[in-house]
C-alpha cells in the first residue's frame, strides 16, 4: 500500500513536471515503464516485459540497476524522473545500466528542480551496451529561476560490437546554476556513439561540458556535438575529445556556442587524436555572437529583433 506521504510527493513531482511543460500522463500511465525518485526516495518503479529495474535507497540518493534483457525491443520509451522539490537537498544517483545483446530501448529522463536554492544533483553512471544493442537516452532538466543548483552528471559507457549509444542532455529551462557534465564512451568494432549537449546559460550560470569518445574498434563511429547559448554573465567551457584508434574509425566533434551579451564568456577546446593511419577524426567549433544575417532574415518576415534572437536560440537548442 502506498503511504500518504509518498502519494503526496509523487503528486508534487508530477505537478512540477507538468508545470515545466511535460506531459503528466507519461508519469501516471500504467502502460509506460518508469522510475520516479524524489530526493532519496523511490516513489514508483514500474517495469515492463524485458526490463528489470532494481533500486536501493541510500542516505543521499538511490542506487539503480537498470537491465534490458537480451533481444528485448521495448516499444514505448521508458521514463525516469529524478527531482528535488524543496529549496535544499542532495540527490546522488548511482546508475548501473546493462543493455544486453540485441536489445533496443529508448529512455527519457526528466530531472526536476523547480525551487532549488541549494541543491546538488549527482549522477554517476556505469553503462554497458551489448553487441548490436541500441540505447537512446534523452535527459532533460527543468530548473527554477534561483540558480542555486549544482548538476554533476558523469557516465562511462562501453559500447559493444555493432552497438549504438545515443544521448542528448538538454538544460534550457530555468537557470542552469552550475553544470559539470562528463561523459566518456568506449566503442568496439562498428559501435556507434553520439553525445549531444544543449544548454542555455543565463545570469551567472557556470557550465562545463566534457565529451570524450574513444573509437577503439574497427569501423567505430562517434559524434560529440554541443550547442550552447550563453548570455548575461554566464560562462561556458566545452571540451570535445575524440580518439580514432582503429582502422576506418570515423569521428567528429561539432561545437557551436552563441554568445549573447557583453559579459558572457564561452570557450571551446576540441581535441582530436588519431593513432591508426586508417582512422579519421574531424572537428568544427564556432563561437560568436548571433549571426546578423540570420536575425535580419527573420526581421524581414516582421519579427522584432528580440523575437528573431529568441527564434534562433530556441532553434539551436531544439
Amino acid at each position: 500500500m502506498i503511504s500518504r506521504s509518498v502519494e503526496k510527493e509523487y503528486a508534487g513531482m508530477v505537478d512540477a513536471y507538468e508545470k515545466a511543460g511535460g506531459d503528466r500522463n507519461t508519469l501516471i500511465s500504467k502502460d509506460i515503464a518508469k522510475l520516479v525518485i524524489h530526493e532519496n526516495k523511490v516513489l514508483g518503479a514500474d517495469g515492463v516485459s524485458g526490463i528489470k529495474i532494481e533500486t536501493k535507497e541510500t542516505e543521499s540518493g538511490v542506487n539503480v540497476h537498470f537491465l534490458v534483457e537480451e533481444g528485448a525491443r521495448i516499444k514505448n520509451p521508458v521514463h525516469l524522473c529524478f527531482g528535488v522539490l524543496p529549496q535544499e537537498g542532495l540527490q546522488e544517483i548511482i546508475l548501473k545500466v546493462e543493455a544486453q545483446d540485441n536489445s533496443e530501448v529508448s529512455v527519457i529522463a526528466h530531472c526536476i528542480f523547480p525551487n532549488a536554492v541549494k541543491v546538488i544533483h549527482k549522477m554517476d553512471a556505469d553503462i554497458k551496451i551489448g553487441n548490436n544493442a541500441k540505447f537512446d537516452y534523452k535527459e532533460t532538466h527543468y530548473h527554477g529561476e534561483f540558480g542555486g543548483i549544482e548538476v554533476i552528471p558523469k557516465a562511462k559507457i562501453k559500447v559493444g560490437k555493432g552497438g549504438v549509444w545515443q544521448s542528448t542532455f538538454t538544460l534550457s529551462q530555468g537557470l542552469v546554476g552550475k553544470l559539470d557534465y562528463d561523459f566518456e564512451v568506449f566503442c568496439q568494432e562498428k559501435g556507434v556513439a553520439e553525445l549531444v549537449v544543449k544548454a542555455y546559460g543565463k545570469g551567472r550560470d557556470d557550465i562545463k561540458v566534457w565529451e570524450k569518445i574513444h573509437l577503439n574498434g574497427e569501423g567505430a563511429r562517434g559524434l560529440a556535438k554541443s550547442r550552447l547559448v550563453i548570455s548575461d554573465k554566464a560562462q561556458a567551457e566545452v571540451k570535445g575529445e575524440t580518439y580514432g584508434n582503429a582502422p576506418h574509425a570515423r569521428g567528429h566533434v561539432d561545437c557551436i556556442e552563441l554568445v549573447n551579451g557583453k559579459e558572457a564568456v564561452a570557450r571551446a577546446i576540441p581535441i582530436v587524436s588519431v593513432t591508426n593511419e586508417k582512422a579519421k577524426v574531424t572537428h568544427e567549433a564556432a563561437i560568436g555572437s548571433i549571426d546578423r544575417r540570420q536575425v535580419e532574415t527573420l526581421m524581414a518576415r516582421g519579427l522584432d529583433e528580440s523575437e528573431a534572437v529568441d527564434v534562433i536560440v530556441r532553434g539551436i537548442l531544439r
Partner: protein, 251 residues
Amino acid sequence: MLRVEDLFLNLNGKPIIDGLNLHVDKGEIHGVLGENGTGKTTLAYLIMGANGYKATEGRIMFEGQDINELSVSQRAKKGISLAWQEPARIEGLRVRDYLNLSGNNPGIEQIKRCLLMVGMEPERYLDRDVDNTLSGGERKRIELASIIAMQPKLAILDEPDSGIDIVSLPSILDGIVQMNKQGTSVLLITHSEQVVEIAHRVSVLCAGRILRTGKPEETCLWFKENCKSCVHINEPLYENLNELVKKGKKS
C-alpha cells in the same frame, strides 16, 4: 508604391549607389537587370534597411512615407520583405515554422500550397530544418515560398534564379507571377534576361545608376547591345556611363 529618389551610398569611399532613381507601381513586377557588381544586391539591402546599408543621400519612399530611418522589422511590418540572394540557414527552425513566421497565420494547407508553388513536395520538406542540410536551390525555393506565405505588399526578390536548375526555373517564375496576381508587387533583381521576361517593366542598372527603364523585350535588347558587350563592366568610365544614361533615356 515604392519611390527611390536620388539615392547615394558610398562604401569605403567608393560610390556603390550613385544617384539612383526608381519607382515600382502597385501591382507591378519591376525587373532590375544588371551585370555582377553593378549594385543590385546593395539596392535590395538599402530598401530593406539591412545592417550597414544606410543611404548617404536620397530618399526611399514607401506608400508616401520616407522609410530610411526604419528598421528591417518596421519595414517588414509596413509590408516590404526580401528574399535574400543567399538566404541564412537557421538550425532547428523547421520549414513549416519558417513559413509561419510572418504572423499572417496562413495555416498548414496554405503553407503546403506555398511550397507547391515553388515546386516543392510539402510532405518531404515541412519537417526539415532550414539549415545546411538543404541544398542551395532548396533553400532558395523555401525563401521564395516564405515570401509567398507572408503576402507582403512589396516583395524584393534578389536573384531568385540563382542555384535553381534550368528545368525548375519556369515553375519558380510561375510562382512569382501567381504571387503578383494575389496582390504582391515585386521588385525582381537579376542578371538574367530570361527572368525579367515576366516583369511589366525593366530597369537596367550599372555602377549604381539606372540607365534605362522600359518594356522587357526592348530593354533586354538594349541591355544586350550596350551592357553585355561593354568593356567597362563594374568599373565604367564615367563619360561613357553618362553617355549611356543619355542614350537610355532617348531610346
